[in-house]
Amino acid sequence: MIPLSHYLFVSAILFCIGTTGVFLRRNLITILLSIEIMLNAVNLSFVAFGRQMGTVDGQIIVFFVMTVAAAEAAVGLAIVIGLYRHRESLNPDAFVSLKW
């Protein structure tokens, strides 16, 4: 039997890895990927707690988180495509002026 804290520990490490990716990477697509890592870490926590409490509510919340993540990835990537077409660069440092 694996203690709940083990699952939470894995989830915390994944979340920290995702946060590090968002802060340190200079590529828009990799930043979006790091956001997906963070969302997955949270999903793992939810399922672990849901299992602990013996209800399906954890899985249902994960269902909604996945759906929202899909919608957010689609819109985020569309924005990235628009930005790339304008500036020919995927580096967030290229988009520092408020002028389009």
Binding site: M1, I17, V47, R51, I60, T67, A70, L90, N91
Partner: protein, 178 residues
């Protein structure tokens, strides 16, 4: 005993693949590493008696969202980060302020882990209460989804519609006005 072994294997794969995601220069490799990480997470969900969530993870995340990422990477011919940029932003070469910040981040992780170990109520085995049948049954999941959470379900469908329309609008090429 094999359960613990599988858990360590899968979580090691998930953490290792995620660390590689943020450590790759080529965005194509990052996407593939993330797919591996999702696969490992799906294995962890199966171990938590959530087969539907595991399969949904593969279908939605690894099968659809990552294909979308791959398309965008291929379409934009996303360049690898240049060497100069990479060297400039590598954590160990940053100015002292950022190095101290990174050390504090590591300290945060250690503290989080210690707090988890000391917390009460999370030390017990994860399969302590409730039987596996109630949690892993898809029938039960569907029933709860359509009775207790039906409003969120309908709102999510509208959300997906809005996201679809928004993505198509945002990625459209501007037409030249004559």
């Amino acid at each position: 005993m094999p359960e613990t072994l599988i858990f360590y294997l899968l979580s090691g794969l998930a953490i290792g693949a995620s660390a590689l995601v943020i450590g790759q220069r080529n965005p194509m490799y990052s996407v593939l590493m993330l797919i591996a990480s999702f696969g490992a997470l799906a294995g962890l969900y199966i171990q938590l008696d959530a087969p539907f969530v595991a399969v949904a993870q593969i279908i939605i995340y690894a099968g659809a969202i990552m294909v979308l990422f791959l398309f965008v990477v291929m379409l934009l011919n996303a360049p690898k980060e240049d060497g100069a940029d990479w060297d400039r932003t590598h954590p160990l070469r940053l100015p002292a302020v950022t190095r101290v910040g990174s050390m504090l981040a590591v300290l945060l992780v250690v503290q989080l882990a210690w707090a988890l170990m000391e917390a009460t109520g999370v030390g017990g085995p994860v399969a302590g209460e409730g039987n596996a049948e109630a949690v892993s049954s898809v029938r039960q999941l569907g029933r709860t989804l359509f009775t207790d959470y039906v409003f969120a379900f309908e709102a999510t469908s509208i959300l997906i519609l809005v996201a679809m329309v928004g993505a198509v609008m945002l990625a459209r090429r501007e037409e030249e006005r004559p």
